[in-house]
Amino acid sequence: MTAQPLPEHPDFLWRTPEPRSSYDVVIVGAGGHGLATAYYLAKNHGITNIAVLEKGWLAGGNMARNTTIIRSNYLWDESAAIYEHALKLWERLPEELDYDFLFSQRGVLNLAHTLQDVREGVRRANANRLNGVDAQWLEPDEVAKVCPILNVSPRTRYPVLGATFQPRAGIAKHDHVAWALARRADELGVDLIQGCEVTGFLKDGDRVVGVETNRGRIHAGRVGLAAAGHSSVLAERAGVRLPVQSHPLQALVSELHEPVHPTVVMSNHVHVYVSQAHKGELVMGAGVDSYNGYGQRGSFHVIERQMAAAVELFPVFARAHVLRTWGGIVDVTPDASPIIGRTPVENLYVNCGWGTGGFKATPAVGWTFAHTLATGEPHPLNAPFALERFTTGALIDEHGAAAVAH
């Protein structure tokens, strides 16, 4: 593996227009999801009278804070379908957007450390293959061939008993993904408005007809929420209750190193995931902090545990230094699957509940949420992820099954 040079920054990427008084569609949140939704609304549906409203700066939320892992090795059919659709879109997006955002298909290993992990992994690899997702089960010696710096000795506290491997999985440079989408959306006529916080909703009876913002009222034919960790706070202002809980999720990076880590390694059981960024930082994450929170920082002991796990798995990292840690706020649902679709309020649509894993879904979110906003109907890929499933009981329970604990 050789280090790739970073892409050049284009001169300018998008306009900064004043908000108009009315749009066909208003999207709240200019993270990857909001931007991809605007892009596909314009591209696939020809709807260009759109504003994306962002309270901070473009893609400064979880889009700027995630560990950029992209994969589609989810257990259940509904999940495999939407994440694999995303992965297929990722594979052609750099060319389509004419922006090299360093999508690197270096593969992902999901390690097994217990007999139950092994059974779960073998089952998931088989389920993936039945769904047309590339997946293999690897024995420890094969794991070591994919990632030679990984300690697969049987003498560790939680030995590596094998792993699932998805070769098409990988990482991408998240900021550049957002800028690539923003540039194209802007070119297609979408207004990207930063420093514009949605503080309430304009209603006509039980219908949403616009939003209140710190920059005035904006009327809208339809409103789509893509506000990640703040979804429930926002939806409540429209009188909609969402079954999500917001938690801090932390990540950290080391200083720069020579390229040493050729793939992405995730471990559910000892709970750390590690990849090496293009510039050379080791990028690590783990699970959410147990409590609810909006403070964009988490607890030190969570970082301590993930570092201990990382050093046991990768003895070569023992002398690496932590350069920076940060937190984002993720919204978690009871079944660890997202909610995309209608709300009980007419003209108000929601995309939320992606928890710790929504970056990888970015293009598929845009594709399906745009379809829903354009037609008022779910796309076949997001239909199973409707809010109603918590009443009907048709849950898509990816807790643990998704190859990561949430």
């Binding site: 917001s246 919204d331 009871p334 918590f390």
Partner: protein, 93 residues
């Protein structure tokens, strides 16, 4: 790291505790009469405020008792803790 006060043992590090989510969620009085919507509300829907939140914690490596904490989810400030049979300080459930 949060510093949480167990009503029985006093202030201890967060790592001594287990989190239990929203406090004051009563079991339905007449479960047989609930609609699907009411069941969904009881099982899956919890408050998620940005601000003061009454939540349950258990002192899992101490006295192993459950109690309630009032904590600000935006600032992480632990406002107070109280026993399960006490009402939420300041009202509002």
């Amino acid at each position: 790291m949060l510093l949480i006060t167990c009503p029985w043992c006093g202030p201890r590090d967060e790592t001594e505790y287990h989190y239990g989510g929203q406090a004051h969620v009563p079991h339905p009085e007449n479960p047989g009469e609930l609609t699907d919507e009411q069941w969904a509300a009881y099982v899956f829907y919890r408050d998620n405020p940005k601000g003061p939140f009454a939540e349950r914690w258990m002192h899992s490596i101490g006295c192993r008792r459950w109690f309630n904490v009032l904590r600000d989810t935006a600032t992480h400030e632990v406002l107070t803790s109280y026993r399960l049979d006490e009402p939420r300080p300041g009202g509002n459930r």
